[in-house]
Each structure stands twice: as C-alpha cells, then as structure tokens.
C-alpha cells in the first residue's frame, strides 16, 4: 500500500456508463487484479475502490462504471486536478498458474482488470482468450485493445446486439488452461458452474477502508473468513462458497 497524490491526465467516457481515467503517479505496485482507493473531493467520506485496468511506467489507467453519486462525481473531475489515492491494494491475480494458455472471462466493467492481466500474460508468451460479456453493444469497451495484444476475443451480449447472444458462458470455448474471472456475482457463479475447474475469481464487495482493518468486506470461504480487500479480491474458485 502506498498513499500518494495522482494527477489526472484524462477522464472520458469509453462506452455507455463506462469511463476511463488516466492518472500520473507511481505505478510500481499496480499489478493485475489490484485496485486503488480514490479520495473524492466534496461530501464523500469513504474512498472509492477502482481496479487497475492498465499501468505503464507512470501512467495508471482506471476504468469505472457510473453507478452512484460517487462515480457520477468522478466523471466531473478534469485533467490537471490532483486526487489522493491509496495504491497497490489487494492480492492481484497469480500469473504463475497460466502455463499452456489462459481464458479470461469478464462481465461488464469487470473486463477492465483483465486487460492488464492479458497484457502481462501475452508479454510472458502465454496464449490468451478473452470472453467479454456485456448487456448491449454500446457498453462494449477495449475489444480492439485486447485484440491488439494478440488476444483471441469472444464477445457476448445479453440482447444479442453484438457477438454471441447470451451470457459469457454461452461464448466460452472449452476451457484450455487457466481461468481468470471478473464480473457480477451471478456471472461468476455461472462461469464456476460451467467450469468447476481451478480458476481465479476477482470479487467485489462494499468496502470500508480497503486495506484490511475494518472487516467491512469479510466473506466466508472454505478456508475460513477472508477480507475481500486484503486477502482478495482474487480467490481460487474452490475456496469460495458458491451457495449452490
């Protein structure tokens, strides 16, 4: 964990309800699957946890969905503004598990953290397939960016407006290699049911602090209680209690 001032370089819409913010700062602790906690100006007391979409040299890219007052306020921030952040939070994905190839399954804004993961895996020479699910075509983002890394991309949309009509699971090829998943709870559950194989799942939970002290985001797992922010957000599929 590092506490630092980040400078906003850009902040713009990427797709329907999805924004991208690029920040200038120290990205040395921003590994795939980790997140940053941003302190927003104004009346917001808690920081906002946003997962890392990309980190290159001193550029940190965060992709976020506008869901509430906080993320709506985020869209109003402009280049040049400074924002206080805790960076390098969470355990991140374990890349050493991917040997013969990796399948990355993302749902909505959950596709964002898979991007840095894909880039790192490709840099290590690992074949990568990304199955990206969205509600509608206008919510799709980063499809070309994934392809530019040499990733095989499968798109699924719920309304069939692009790619396979249906859920991510409907567009998933036979699992070949390691599985990495990030998306809404029902989507991850569907992937787990389909795959039932070793895989890494990145969870989302309302957080207090983001660095492991308030116990606000604790979950029960097969191995006992775990803090999503500090012991996760990435967990092995078999650790999780899927309530099914």
């Amino acid at each position: 964990m590092k506490q630092q001032q980040l400078e906003i370089l850009s902040n713009e819409p990427l797709a329907a309800g999805i924004w991208r913010m690029v920040l200038l700062g120290d990205t040395s602790d921003s590994a795939p699957g980790r997140f940053a906690e941003l302190r927003l100006p104004g009346e917001f007391y808690l920081r906002r946890p946003i997962s890392v979409c990309d980190a290159r040299e001193d550029r940190l890219t965060l992709v976020y969905k506008t869901v509430g007052r906080g993320t709506r306020r985020m869209t109003e921030l402009v280049p040049g503004q400074e924002i206080e952040a805790l960076t390098g939070l969470g355990n991140g994905f374990d890349l050493s598990r991917a040997r013969d190839g990796a399948v990355l399954a993302g749902g909505g804004v959950g596709c964002a953290p898979l991007f840095l993961l894909a880039r790192r895996l490709r840099e290590a020479g690992c074949p990568v397939t990304a199955v990206l699910g969205f509600n509608r075509a206008d919510e799709i983002f980063y499809e070309e960016e994934f392809r530019a890394l040499g990733v095989r991309v499968e798109i699924a949309t719920l309304d069939g407006s692009r790619g396979t009509k249906g859920f991510v699971t409907d567009a998933m090829p036979g699992i070949a290699g390691s599985l990495y998943v990030c998306g809404p709870q029902p989507m991850m559950k569907a992937v787990w049911r389909r795959a039932r194989a070793a895989g890494q799942y990145s969870l989302e939970e309302r957080m207090g602090c983001g660095f492991g002290v308030c116990m606000g985001c604790s979950i029960q797992t097969a191995g006992g209680s775990r803090r999503v922010c500090a012991d996760g957000p990435v967990f092995a599929g078999e650790e999780l209690l899927w309530n099914d």
């Binding site: 506490q3 007391y45 957080m207 207090g208 002290v213 606000g216 029960q220």
Partner: protein
C-alpha cells in the same frame, strides 16, 4: 514531547491519541505505514470469548461525513488473540495496549477479561457494552444501568487491570449509565460508541446494510460525542476517554476541554490511514496558536466558564 503527555487510569501516555477498536485491527497494517509506537496506545479489535465471523455483507454504508458499519464483532476469539496475536504484537508495539472486550452474557465478559487481564502487555481492559450490531448482546447491557453494573462488577472481580467501560450514545440519559458503571468499580469511561443509523439503496429499494441498521460514526457525530463527554465528566470522578468523529488536532483539544484525559480516533483511520500520526505531529503547533503549554492543563478546562 513532555507537553503532550497525559495519564490514563494511572498509566502514563506519551500523548492522548489512541486509535479506536475496530478501526485499527491489531495495528499491523498501520505499522507498515508508520511506526505505531508514536501512539499513546491503541485499542485492538473487539474480542469475544468465542471466535465470531460477524454479520453477512454488505456491512458498510457511506453517509455524509461518516459511515455505517454492521461488522458484528468479527474476531478470532480470546484464545487466538492470546495465543497467536499478542506474541506477534510484542514485536512491533512496545507499550501497554488496550484490549477491547465484548460479550453476550456477564460470564462471557468476565471470562474473556480474566484471560486477557493476565497478559503482561495489556494495560487496560475496555469493556464494550455498546455494540449495536449483534443480537442480544453488547448494546442491551449499555442501555440499562443495572445490567451495565452487573457486567462491570463481574469483570472487576477477575482482574486488577484498569477497567474502562465503553458506552453507547443511544440512550436518553448517558450520565445514569456512567454513574452506575463507576459505582460498580469501573476505573474509566470511554464514549461514544456508534449512533444507531441506517441508509436505503433507492434503486434496489432495500436497506444498504444486510442487517438493516448499523453503527454510525465519523466527523458527523462529533457534536453529540462532545456533549456526552461533557455530561459524563460532570457526572463521574473517574477518567473519561473521548471518542466520536475526531479528525484533527483541534478536535482533540475540544474533547480534552470537555473533560477527556485521552481520546480515541476511529473512522478517520479508515480514510486517512496516517491520521493518528498526523494529529500527534500537528498538536504542538495548534497548542501554540491556542496558548496551551501542556495538554494535561486543559482537561475539563471549559467547565465552570460561567463563573469566570
């Protein structure tokens, strides 16, 4: 620094700043950010006789100038705290520490306190009779002067360590409870625990917290906390620890003028992890501006102003 020193139930503190239970874990995460030996002490995560997972999530909701929590006393239980955590704590914290204890029966409290009281590093026992987030426990002791006295008396019998009782603000008359605890043998009172609060998600049309209600804390509650510290200071002779929304060195001084001999800082640790160190570092300059030579001189200093 001499001018920041204070005393809590006979034990000297380098300064009055104490991270509050439930916002500081066992100090390890903060020790990675700064040397936590700069603190007066800290009150570690509320401990119960048995391990507890706590409540289902969501356990956290944001509010203006604060947050709700419904963690529900998640902790590994007194045996694990003594067997695993305290031995490790010695390696990074070298001062007496405050053990915060919760329970669901008088026996729970007494059992856990007896065991923790024997540990050499434990300087104070802070009895939490005010947790709003568990059924049939905590807060019900804190809203009834008789039940509060029973807990205090039972714990008093099993330990010689200084006993601080942490009170809930969700009562009509805080002084009644405080006096009852003093009479039953408490060595100090800490207050306030959280106000009972709630938020609703207007899109999903349900409470944000899975447990519906939770404890409200943060800068928003400071005026209520300060008022209750003031009232309790006038009602009892034992030391008072001020808790509730403290976020700056000025807030610490206000609490001490109201009667606190030390303060606990809670929520602010969650959003500004270095706040306790920042406040300790910032106190001398604020004291200079306010003409305060030594913090100990101002404890309760705003009482009796009408007569001046």
């Amino acid at each position: 620094m001499e001018r920041l020193k204070t005393t809590l139930c006979g034990i000297p503190l380098d300064n009055p700043v104490i991270p509050a239970s439930g916002t500081f874990g066992y100090g390890e995460e903060f020790a990675a950010l700064y040397d936590i030996n700069c603190l007066g002490t800290f009150s570690f995560k509320g401990t119960t006789a048995q391990p507890r997972f706590g409540n289902p999530t969501p356990r956290i909701a944001e509010c203006t100038a604060g947050l709700l929590n419904a963690v529900g006393l998640q902790n590994p239980g007194v045996e694990a705290v003594i067997g695993e955590i305290l031995p490790r704590m010695k390696t990074y914290f070298h001062k007496p520490v405050m053990a915060n204890v919760s329970g669901f029966s008088v026996e729970d409290y007494a059992g856990a306190c007896e065991k923790l009281g024997r540990e050499p590093q434990i300087g104070w026992l802070e009895i939490n009779i005010s947790c709003p987030n568990v059924h049939g426990g905590g807060m019900s002791f804190g809203t009834d002067p008789k039940a509060a006295a029973e807990v205090v008396a039972a714990v008093r019998r099993v330990t010689e360590k200084p006993l601080i009782v942490k009170l809930t603000p969700n009562v009509t008359d805080i002084t009644e409870i405080a006096r009852s605890c003093e009479a039953a043998g408490a060595d100090g009172i800490s207050l306030i625990n959280t106000l009972l609060g709630m938020r609703i998600d207007p899109l999903r049309r349900r409470p944000v917290l899975q447990r519906t209600m939770g404890g409200f804390s943060g800068p928003a509650v400071f005026p209520v906390a300060l008022r209750m510290v003031w009232q309790v200071y006038e009602a009892v002779k034992i030391p008072v620890v001020g808790i509730g929304g403290i976020a700056s060195a000025e807030d610490v001084i206000e609490m001490m003028l109201a009667g606190a001999c030390a303060v606990e800082i809670g929520s602010e640790n969650l959003v500004r992890p270095t706040v306790c160190k920042d406040i300790i570092d910032g106190l001398p300059a604020v004291m200079d501006r306010l003409g305060i030579a030594k913090l100990e001189d101002i404890i309760g200093g705003a009482h009796g102003w009408e007569k001046m």
